[in-house]
């Protein structure tokens, strides 16, 4: 009775789903090559464009992957598999851990692929800086992984595609993945309370060198706690209905 076998196969399933894999990993990679490849020698605010764009795509790609990991629950619900699993000794904790782990592994793949793509376009980044960037992105992913689980419990498989697209685009837009929004004022203060903003900031550490301020940690922590509560609520509601 081990959680290891279950988790291992759960990760395997995640990586075998070709459509899922291409959307989660391929999109940011293709976008990076298309946009950064054609602006290889350009600079933005004195920063080499491929580096600038690579970090943006890293936070976006990782966010997409983390969200999609939990969202796969919708497919399992639709075929009645969650009910089947509730008849096994598998603990709810292991069930979710496996989902979260697969989401994180996908996110890591996305980050590594984009880093290699960056290297191929001549991006230079010290190991130390790279580790800081990746480490903080991984921390910033926590609320998105949980949000994926929430979506997996409230949406159907049919509505999941558009919903995931919408949610990731909205968060990416507000967070500044597609370019910074307001730099000052009330709107900026609002944006600073959105976790994707800090994901994007984590990527920017690659060239600004500034780590996360205390506010970043607080924003990520608050969103995580609230979303975990919400996930617990929707899980209970979902299982009580049947």
């Amino acid at each position: 009775m081990t959680a290891a076998t279950y988790t291992r196969y759960e990760v395997l399933r995640c990586f075998r789903n070709v459509r899922f894999f291409i959307f989660s990993l391929g999109f940011p990679l293709i976008l990076f090559y298309l946009v950064a490849g054609s602006n290889r020698h350009a600079t933005t605010d004195g920063i080499k464009f491929p580096l600038y764009y690579m970090t943006g795509m890293m936070s976006w790609g990782a966010m997409t992957a983390a969200l999609a990991g939990g969202a796969r629950i919708a497919a399992e619900r639709s075929v009645g598999w969650t009910r089947q699993m509730r008849l096994t000794p598998l603990s709810v904790r292991t069930y979710f851990q496996a989902k979260i782990l697969s989401g994180y592994l996908l996110a890591c793949c996305s980050i590594i692929l984009l880093s290699l793509a960056g290297l191929s376009l001549g991006v230079h980044l010290s190991i130390g800086k790279w580790l800081t960037v990746v480490g903080l992105i991984l921390v910033g992913l926590i609320p998105f992984t949980v949000l994926g689980i929430v979506l997996g419990h409230v949406l159907s498989t049919d509505s999941m595609g558009p919903a995931l697209g919408g949610v990731t685009t909205l968060f990416a837009l507000l967070g500044g993945s597609f370019g910074p929004l307001a730099q000052h004022g009330v709107f900026h203060s609002v944006i600073e309370c959105i976790p994707s903003y800090w994901l994007v900031q984590a990527g920017k550490i690659a060239y600004t060198g500034h780590g996360w301020p205390a506010q970043a940690w607080i924003v990520i922590a608050v969103w995580s706690v609230v979303l975990v509560r919400l996930a617990r609520f929707v899980y209970r509601r979902d299982t009580a209905r049947v």
């Binding site: 009775m1 081990t2 290891a4 076998t5 279950y6 196969y9 395997l12 399933r13 995640c14 075998r16 789903n17 497919a75 399992e76 075929v79 009645g80 598999w81 009910r83 089947q84 509730r86 008849l87 096994t88 000794p89 598998l90 009580a240 049947v242």
Partner: protein
């Protein structure tokens, strides 16, 4: 003897189960005791409350009142200990694993699973064991769902209309495997609205209608509650007066040589008939099938009154 062993001896105990969905009283007061090792069919028309009762047995839903005890444990605890497995009425398989891999995963979750190869073999899934679960036909999927329940090697196996998607041959195979499993001393509860299945594969039938148990007994007993059997035969030169003398006959019909006897004791009537008319032929004895018993037992009294 430990408390657990004592509980295990108790088998399955349902007392005063009630469950409503909004205004619909799906189950209204079910009491049932199933001893370990019994194979019990829950028979009833759609909407009789079979699936709702099964959901409560499995702990998938909570009764509004009443209680469920599985081997002396709450359903959730019995499930957690791996004592229970089920093939639910609806549902399919998760994708992106082969049949074998899926069984390996499921086996890994239980304390004393059956060997995956053995389960593949007995459920007839070996030939497509390497195929991905989302590339199976409906019948194959159903076999794999059964394999998923079996590999758990549970003490209680619950099957909710398990043969719905199977053809005749697959159905026969299915019940043969189920029987083999039950012979290992396992408790099996299955819901069905196929009367012949309940008749052929259960030792005991619990008939449900309108959310309650309307009959509960050995299969033969349930049939006996309706009782009458019919004898048809061709009897050359038959005399109506002789037939009226036969024991256990409640009604008769004679058309030339062809007779139809409705009997409360068909055995006695037939013995005497053959002694009087040794050249009787084309004899056909039809039990009041379970179907008649079923119709009678599940008929809504308010409808009969009209």
């Amino acid at each position: 003897m430990t408390a657990f062993d004592a509980g295990r001896r108790d088998g399955i105990l349902l007392s005063g189960l009630v469950k409503s969905y909004g205004p619909v009283r799906a189950v209204q007061g079910v009491d049932l005791h199933i001893a370990p090792g019994e194979t019990v069919a829950m028979l009833g028309p759609n909407g009789a409350g079979k699936s709702t009762t099964i959901d409560m047995i499995l702990g998938l839903s909570t009764p509004d009142s009443g209680s469920v005890s599985l081997f002396g444990l709450k359903p959730a605890d019995a499930v957690h200990q791996g004592l229970v497995a089920a093939m639910l009425q609806t549902g399919s398989l998760i994708r992106d694993l082969s049949v074998r891999e899926l069984l390996v995963v499921m086996a890994s979750l239980y304390p004393k699973p059956l060997a995956v190869d053995e389960v593949l073999e007995i459920t007839g899934t070996t030939e497509f064991a390497q195929r991905r679960t989302h590339k199976l036909s409906g019948g194959q999927t159903q076999r794999v769902r059964f394999a998923v329940a079996l590999v758990a090697n549970p003490d209680l196996l619950v099957l909710d209309e398990p043969t719905a998607a199977l053809d005749v041959e697959a159905r026969r195979d299915f019940w043969a495997v189920m029987r083999g499993f039950a012979e290992r001393g396992k408790t099996v509860v299955f819901a069905t609205h196929y009367l012949e299945e309940a008749d052929a594969y259960a030792e005991r039938i619990v008939v449900m209608a309108r959310g309650t148990v309307v009959a509960d007994g050995a299969t033969a007993e349930i049939k006996a509650r309706v009782g009458n059997r019919t004898i048809r035969a061709t009897v050359p030169g038959v005399q109506r007066a002789d037939l009226e003398q036969l024991p256990g006959v409640v009604a008769l019909d004679v058309r030339a040589d062809a007779i139809t006897l409705t009997c409360s004791d068909a055995d006695a009537a037939l013995h005497r008939l053959l002694r009087a008319y040794p050249d009787a032929h084309g004899i056909e004895v039809r039990g009041a099938g379970l179907e008649e018993a079923f119709m009678e037992l599940t008929a809504d009294p308010s409808e009969v009154a009209q």
